[in-house]
């Protein structure tokens, strides 16, 4: 650690905190990004629909509508600078049956009010031509050409790494415990790793943003509840949808969608259940049934036998002013409530604006590099590119994950990246290893061995996602453990 005094401390290295760090890293400032987990992006960031929305859905005049529409065009440049996968296939709201048709027009009008470009209502025939798998009872669809998909976790890694390459520091397994105050002013944070001082503290703690806020004695009535959404991942070898498909929205929300991902899989989900436990990312039998039924409304040919993964994510739902995510308290910190990733760059930009409004003199840094270099991804390469890569570094020739074609070279690079991947899941989420048909059955023991070797730790110390999630308990022939048993 270089020092314990910073200009900015950001609590929470999710997609929001990481993007804010990256935005601030262009200025002359010392930045510290902290997270309680063993990796960045372990909360709401990692488990959602991964869609960059055009902005026709939020209520006109809401901050969410504003950030959606303002951020959407920024994604092309962002993905080019940060080298993460981003595609803009456009999205469709699909009306099934004549009774749903009028809702498309309502959405279209709402989009016009929000300033969404590139929308069009298309016929059932055109919808079926664009996606032959769609329910033949389709009556029409709203097409929004600016809808996009990304991998929010990889966006987070890219943004945080870019911040680090521009001088920011990241401390993981560093849990915020309390604020350090001087009178009524926040001067730093107390963590399990000691005290860190800062002129500004930015709360990007996601689902725990309310608890962090309460530590400063502010707005105890403001409570964030987790809203759990469950998803299925389908085997890309069995089904490949072409686009993003939403059902028409109901009072319960955007509904169960079917979308392709930047990894080539199709995912279906989410449902939406408000729960109490902020750590409860469990999947339920009923939920999974609800999702498969919902998804079949759009694409009847979806079959559960093609499911290769299930996951659930928690979205933070605030109980007050949730349409206004940026709330300024005495200019000491900003509270942010992410709804999902769509408004992201605009949110980061807004934080910068808020700081400027509060009188902070942000001076641009000379030599700030907006580029976060890409690392080789074997599976997306041509034969010729693979040949060249293996010739340069033989470790790229050794395939560790047979389903997703991830090589030892890629794994080693991630372990020694600007933000080192030190757990199995950290590698999995960066390389997409272990996400295929065999779900890590083949690669797991090999990755654990590589982690142990590269980190210089025992196999017994390698974890899935941090302390308490170890893989192995003892050596098979460990006599003492044997006797104890």
């Amino acid at each position: 650690m270089k020092n314990s005094t910073y200009d900015f401390i950001i609590i929470g290295a999710g997609v929001v905190g990481s993007m804010i760090a990256r935005w601030l890293s262009r200025y002359q400032a010392d930045i510290l990004l902290i997270d309680k987990e063993a990796d960045i992006g372990m909360g709401a960031t990692a488990a959602n629909s991964a869609i960059v929305h055009p902005g026709y859905d939020p209520q006109p005049g809401s901050l969410k509508a504003l950030t959606n529409v303002r951020a959407n065009p920024m994604w092309d440049q962002l993905s080019a600078e940060l080298n993460f996968a981003f595609q803009r296939p456009g999205d469709f709201v699909v009306a099934i049956g004549e009774q749903e048709l009028p809702i498309l027009d309502t959405l279209y009008q709402q989009g016009v009010k929000n300033g969404v470009p590139g929308m069009k209502i298309i016929s059932a025939a055109e919808m079926l031509e664009r996606e032959p798998l769609i329910n033949p009872e389709v009556s029409g669809a709203l097409w929004a050409s600016t809808g996009g998909i990304c991998d929010p976790f990889q966006v987070t890694v890219a943004a945080a790494e870019n911040a680090v390459l521009n001088g920011a520091e990241v401390l993981l397994e560093t849990e915020f415990l309390d604020f350090l105050m001087e009178g009524s002013r926040v001067v730093g944070v107390r963590t399990n790793r000691g005290d860190f001082f800062a002129r500004w503290v930015i709360n990007a703690a996601g689902i725990y943003a309310d608890a962090v806020m309460h530590k400063a004695g502010v707005r105890p009535e403001f409570v964030i509840k987790p809203r759990r959404g469950e998803y299925f991942v389908l085997d890309s070898a069995d089904i490949r949808t072409r686009n993003i498909y939403f059902p028409v929205p109901t009072e319960k929300g955007k509904g169960i969608l079917v979308t392709n991902t930047v990894h080539g899989n199709t995912i279906i989900g989410p449902n939406a259940n408000i729960i109490d436990d902020k750590e409860d990312t469990s999947c339920t039998r009923d939920g999974l049934e609800e999702i498969s039924q919902g998804a079949r409304k759009l694409i009847p040919s979806i079959r559960l036998r093609t499911v290769i993964g299930t996951f659930a994510g928690l979205r933070p739902m605030g109980n007050a002013r949730s349409q206004n995510p940026a709330i300024d308290y005495g200019n000491d910190f900003v509270i942010e409530i992410p709804q999902s990733v769509q408004g992201l760059p605009a949110i980061a930009e807004m934080v910068v604006d808020l700081l400027k409004d509060a009188g902070e003199k942000l001076v641009e840094k000379k030599g700030w590099d907006p580029i976060r270099p890409a690392r080789p991804r074997f599976r997306t390469m041509s034969h010729a590119q693979r040949q060249a890569l293996c010739a340069a570094d033989p470790a790229y020739g050794r395939v560790i994950c047979r389903c997703e074609n991830v090589t030892e070279g890629e794994i080693v690079r991630e372990i020694h990246a600007p933000i080192p991947a030190t757990t199995y899941d950290a590698i999995k989420r960066r390389t997409w290893l272990g996400t295929g048909r065999c779900q890590g059955g083949f690669d797991m023991s090999r990755v654990v061995t590589i982690l142990s070797r590269e980190l210089g730790i025992s196999l017994l110390e390698v974890t899935k996602r941090g302390g308490g999630s170890e893989f192995l308990f003892r050596q098979t022939k460990d006599k003492e453990a044997q006797d104890a048993a």
Partner: protein, 132 residues
């Protein structure tokens, strides 16, 4: 007359055996489809026997463990002792399949032998990429 029910394990067919006993002696085995079934039934009723397979620690080999097995069956009630003897054993690579690792294990008259060749870990073998 006392009856014992067994599932024959002499082959994968899994015949359901009934072994009729009187005064500790087998009177009749029924349900078997071959002679091995009869032998199994008699043995199982009086003194069950099992083959044992496990691993021993090996140093200098491609892997840290060498799979081994008992060349014949040992009394079922002594399996725990056989396993303890195997656990205490240590060998060094190279080892050839069939090599005796523990002769006459715990006095059963049965040898514990290696289930495979275990080559020495060598930098020149293609296996070396396991330990780059």
């Amino acid at each position: 007359m006392q009856e014992n029910n067994f599932i024959c394990t002499a082959c994968p067919m899994g015949c359901k055996l009934i072994v009729r006993m009187q005064d500790g002696e087998v009177v009749k085995v029924v349900g078997n489809r071959c002679r091995r079934g009869e032998t199994y039934g008699r043995q199982e009723a009086i003194a069950p026997q099992r083959m044992v397979a496990s691993t021993v620690r090996i140093s200098g080999g491609l892997h840290p463990l060498l799979p081994v097995y008992t060349k014949g069956s040992v009394p079922k009630r002594r399996i725990g002792e056989v396993l303890a003897a195997i656990r205490a054993a240590r060998v060094s690579a190279p080892v050839k399949a069939g090599q005796v690792i523990l002769a006459n294990v715990i006095g059963t008259g049965v040898d514990v032998i290696a289930s495979r060749d275990m080559p020495e870990y060598s930098k020149s073998s293609p296996e070396n990429s396991k330990h780059p």
